[in-house]
Subunit: 445 residues, 4 copies
């Protein structure tokens, strides 16, 4: 592996996890990374076919991975029985390796949004829901989408969501439009986990008016309007869809957990998912850094008589990238470990830190990698421009950095009372000491 | 206009230029910006047609603009007779307005690389070359490309370029591959201004081995290999081409200025072109800032009970963007003014400053604008993601920032000798003063 | 001069100002900079004498400067009759040169807070006040202090100030405590320009409750409590005082302009003063950059086989410092020019920009200069640590950056309505164009 | 404690260490922090006495601390027998708490440079040297200095040091000048650990020409020339000395380890010392953050109708400071843990990361804390300006950041060969896949 397990977590990684890490590293480096280009090439350029097929190589990779036991690694043993038996910390280390390749996560049935959706179903679904949807997802037979964000609402404040749901007899009737429904463009996408708001006032508590509903993709009234682009990339075949619901009717039994319990569910969904995203981002940053180092040592690319790597600015970039990556990794692993030791709720602050700091750091690193490649960096000849775009969205997904920072600032600021009390006690002691030591003059801190 | 002419240049803008600024502002705001979406929609999505046509609306805009005299504004009166009679500073202010819209520059026949190519032909071309190529370019009847950068060479050090040229009788024979030949994918592109290196040693001076050759686009042996993407954008119909030359034969009379004079020509080409790019970037930043302000004041996008514009972080972004834009503008106008007062060579430092600082500043501003739009910002629903990608390339085009910074550092560092001499004189005077005032103890600075 | 007048303001600098710039540059480089060390050495280290004397060399410098006509250069010809007859822009260029030396401003009777106080008296004082205080200040016979900020109030919001003033017959009675009264520790300081708040409600308008009062330094009831330090420096003999007023009684005729007109006065005081500060900061940055360049080219300081100046990181620092300084200068000169063309009120935005951006930029540059000097940089052997500390306070003086940024953000945000209107018009035009060109599909921006 | 032990190291902290952490926290919060002001007030302002005494309160604190077993906590159990029996990681957590107070480290006999000097003597000293110098240091009866850096040499490259040593019979004769000898101004300082260079060529290996010599402070020929300032602070009574050696003669038995082994010794000295410094810096940052939070919630300091803590910019500062501190802590603890698991040499990269990133991060945080205090922040009324100055020197001590970054960049860049090999293997596999899947067109990454 290009990196070693950080000293500080050595004791937290089981021998079995180490063995898997080795296998995953080998599979990603020798199978997935080379396959990335094939996958890309197998996506149809014909606009009429682009969203109706998917690259056949992925089935090949899935079957190879599964045969090696590299499958459903993400469901942590601390909270689920259906997974491969690793802790969040251990899977975090694995997710980092997956993050190096575009196709690796899907190859091992560990890709978003399926992972989060499987967690929702495993944790909150009833037996029928599990049988119908969780099982084929765990088998990798279908894919899914998570429908949350909406175009015309500032949905970083989730209370603003506006997809309407009303109960009519044994049915639920849904109306509204979602966007950034990642995966909903994929022809294999069979089910949407959908966040709705009750049309009728079911609670005065703003956090108890939302529900999570399972909507089969082929339900009448559902229209995938268009794929959204990310800096020019459409991310086919997965895609990011705008999806319209007009009088979409599903059985009431498709409610997860119960009406009004949507917030409870999505909050439970967020913790480990953020760890996965962050660790994959770190893997992307490692791969990008590899590209930078390879590029600046290319003997054909001397400028002003030197290898590019001999220029001080580049050296500094490399060093700062190394520090930033290692620092991010510790931050995320610490959050993962806290989830393992307690749970996601207890690790709220640690997860938020990772969510804030990792994407912005990784975006900065990859931007430098792009720059080190010159014009090559921004185009299709290297994966770095695309990696940048993918990472850039993570500064927005699940709410922009700034919202999380503001919230973390508010929480940290709650220490004010305790601090002031402590300062006051110290001031009192200080005054005593002034008297004891017979020092005159006014006391300042 | 959304901005006023900065105080400091009020006296440098003629009444005629002010009148034109008003007309250009009106044309851009009322014709070009609305047309941007039409232009985009008129580009074919069919990969077999995408590079064989161009949006018809552009001809409409060109004819409207020309009828108002908004044509060829860029050729400065201080150095050319063929232009509209403005100084570089005045055109700089105009270019800023053009930069707000994707189609504005082309509408007024002021778009790169044609502008730089026209400057080359006007300044260095002979009468035959002017007649054949400059005239149809000035008329907007054809378009052109500038073939400089190469894929396998670190061409930010222009001495590295490797397109081979040899003289065979009355012909020149060219072999090699260029890339990032912007505009070469356009069906209207009729001519390439091409930088080559003599196959034979014509000089031991590393700066006298290059030549500029005029190559008609349809010359046998020329192949446009593929369009390069900028992040996910292909910038059709203009595009950025990789172009292969195999035994491409043109008459020797297609040499501009003479063999070995390539460096002289491209250096003359760079100054005003950088001013134009920078001012357009500033216009892009202004438009992006408009979008940010509009977005954060959208009454439907309240978060946590407030308009987004009421959050302190956003306020700071707006203020810092305003300062950064105004500061960049002064830097570029100062460079333009120095070109007008003396010439581009004298303004080398000022131009380099603008070239370094404007793109990185504008990229940062637009990135914040993207962030302020949330998920909307990265997709096709607002022009800001695409603007970001376009500006991002300017940190690389004509050599990455870091190369320019290193060079500027080297030049500034040449002051060392003068400074040391001055410091030594001060030290001597200081010692005298110590004696005069009878102060003991050793003198430190 | 180590710098040339920027191209863009060449026409705004009169031949007489150019001549003065040359004389000032010569005086500062050959007299003031060497004298800085003598001045420092002549300050008493004995705590009982430290605040009772001042370095004799300053009188020498003042007399030399005055004999060359280098005196009271700051009072702009556009708004005052008592000055040397230069515009704000011209004096700005001069102030930059003054900023290179610790003693230069005082040598030419151009040092704060006297300059601002003289402006207040010249602009708002009556004849008696001018005779008594303005004349000796213009003569350099006395010095003065400006008493505004208070320790226990967030006085960046000036409405918070709490020094109480009440009218008793023909007297004013003042009570309260001021701090950061720069210059009030100096034995030559004879008068305080003091901002007070009326004890009685004289207006419901929060901006009309303050008054400016002239308080002779020796008035009974005034106590200079202590000097405040700036990062360990006490800035003797000038100093920054905490000053207590207990029933300080002055004649009512010491009111400037009238009761309740304090805001009006201090706002008039701020504009040109901020220009002066900013330009001096730029001069400090230039001198610091000189030190950096001298240091990194010291042949005795090779590391790892190279001059420090040959390391890429240092080159980048030098280049970025050059750009930042030149950029700041243009920003300040543009503000000065707008004051000259109209007045300080019209230039509010331009002045605010300079106030925000110059100190933070200069602080960053000098910090790099410190770093380039290694351990030498933080100690007394070079002036750079002290320069840093001095500049650092300017990010706080007259209100912290963040307050100014927030205010500028609020003002800029007022453009929202105009922008939205413009966008709506463009949207309407866009819809027309869609129809005209027969393009289907929904219109997005 | 205001912070919890990070999840990730929970298992690495013994119950005994937890108990000590609690005791140390209590002692620092209730004794040391209040004592900081007393200590400051007990330093003489009289320049003739300032360096001849030290604040009596420190002896009081030392005796209190020792009576609770809080003594010599720093000597790690993994590598020394004389210490309190903690790992580097455990002591790291303790050092963080010490870092909150100016006097805490000395109170517990854990202050630099004594700690590093004791490590040198314990690790490399012979029995006689230990008896004479290590024992009284462990007892806290004397203090010591470490003489390394020199004024006229770029000593961040330690090969440049120039203090001359020659062997004359049984004596060593030393000549030269050292500076930044922290602690050498203290009247209790009894011994200097001194880095010298052999006058005679003893080796052609540039790393084997240096020796470490024990020099009693009162040896004839030694002169403490002057205290150096850090910004305006002289850090009395400890101080940072310039020390001159003229023919200073000590017995040859004062050589540590042997002639030419200086590099070996100082490299062994650096690892844990950097961990201590970094963790103390983190403690300083925590205390500074406490001050910020207290200040911005002060109900008397409302601006524009709000508590300062309600402004978005401040909230962001608080959140970003929290993240940065927690992130730094993990980085340092990871390095400490690696020292514990292997040794300092194995942890070279991890230590270097901490050394680079912690001081610059902490300096930035404290600068924001200063800013949040307005004018109060820069002066003596809060400890934050002084804390800033102290931390700022750590970006220079033991070599400036930039040198460490360059070195780390060079090391990281050594991965180039491995990466290129891996990329080549991937490229080969990719080509195979292209063939297998029958995809035409050239392969790009």
């Amino acid at each position: 592996m290009p990196y070693e397990i950080p000293a500080i977590v050595q004791d937290r990684v089981s021998p079995r996890a180490r063995e898997y890490l080795k296998k995953i590293d080998h599979f990603v480096e020798t199978e997935c990374i080379p396959a990335d280009s094939i996958y890309e090439a197998q996506i149809s350029q014909d606009p009429t076919l682009r969203w109706k097929s998917y690259p056949p190589i992925i089935d090949d990779l899935k079957s190879k991975a599964r045969s090696q036991g590299l499958w459903n690694l993400f469901l942590s043993k601390t909270h689920y029985s259906q997974g491969a038996g690793f802790t969040n910390l251990e899977y975090g280390l694995m997710a980092e390796i997956l993050g190096r390749s575009h196709v690796a996560s899907e190859s091992m049935n560990c890709s978003a949004p399926d992972t989060g959706n499987m967690e929702v179903l495993a944790k909150y679904g009833n037996e029928a829901q599990k049988r119908e949807w969780l099982e084929p997802l765990l088998e990798g037979k279908i894919r899914s989408a998570f429908l949350m964000t909406e175009r015309y609402r500032a949905s970083s404040d989730a209370k603003n969501i506006d997809m309407k749901m009303r109960v009519e007899g044994d049915s639920l009737v849904l109306n509204g439009t979602k966007w950034w429904s990642s995966g909903a463009c994929d022809p294999r996408c069979a089910v949407y986990i959908t966040m709705c708001k009750s049309e009728n006032n079911i609670s005065t508590d703003a956090f108890k008016q939302q529900s999570v509903v399972i909507v089969p993709a082929n339900t009448p009234g559902v229209t995938v309007l268009r794929p959204l682009h990310v800096y020019g990339y459409d991310d086919a075949p997965h895609g990011h869809a705008e999806v319209r619901f007009i009088n979409v009717r599903v059985p009431k039994s498709n409610l997860v957990l119960g009406e009004g319990r949507g917030f409870e569910i999505i909050q439970g969904r967020l913790g480990p998912g953020r760890i996965h995203h962050c660790m994959r981002s770190i893997g992307a940053a490692e791969r990008a850094l590899d590209y930078m180092i390879a590029r600046v040592n290319d003997p054909n690319r001397r400028t002003f008589g030197k290898l590019i790597s001999e220029h001080g600015t580049i050296r500094t970039w490399i060093a700062e990238s190394r520090i930033a990556i290692d620092s991010c990794r510790l931050l995320v692993l610490n959050a993962a470990d806290k989830i393992d030791r307690v749970d996601a709720k207890a690790a709220l602050r640690e997860i938020a830190m990772a969510k804030i700091v990792v994407p912005r750091t990784v975006v900065d690193i990859i931007d430098k990698v792009v720059q080190a490649h010159g014009a090559g960096g921004v185009c299709q000849d290297f994966p770095v421009a695309r990696m940048w775009a993918g990472q850039r969205t993570l500064r927005i997904a699940d709410g922009p950095d700034e919202v999380h920072l503001a919230q973390m600032g508010r929480n940290e600021n709650k220490r004010a009372e305790e601090i002031m009390k402590r300062h006051a006690a110290q001031e009192k002691k200080r005054e005593e000491m002034y008297r004891l030591w017979k020092i005159e003059g006014r006391s300042v801190l």
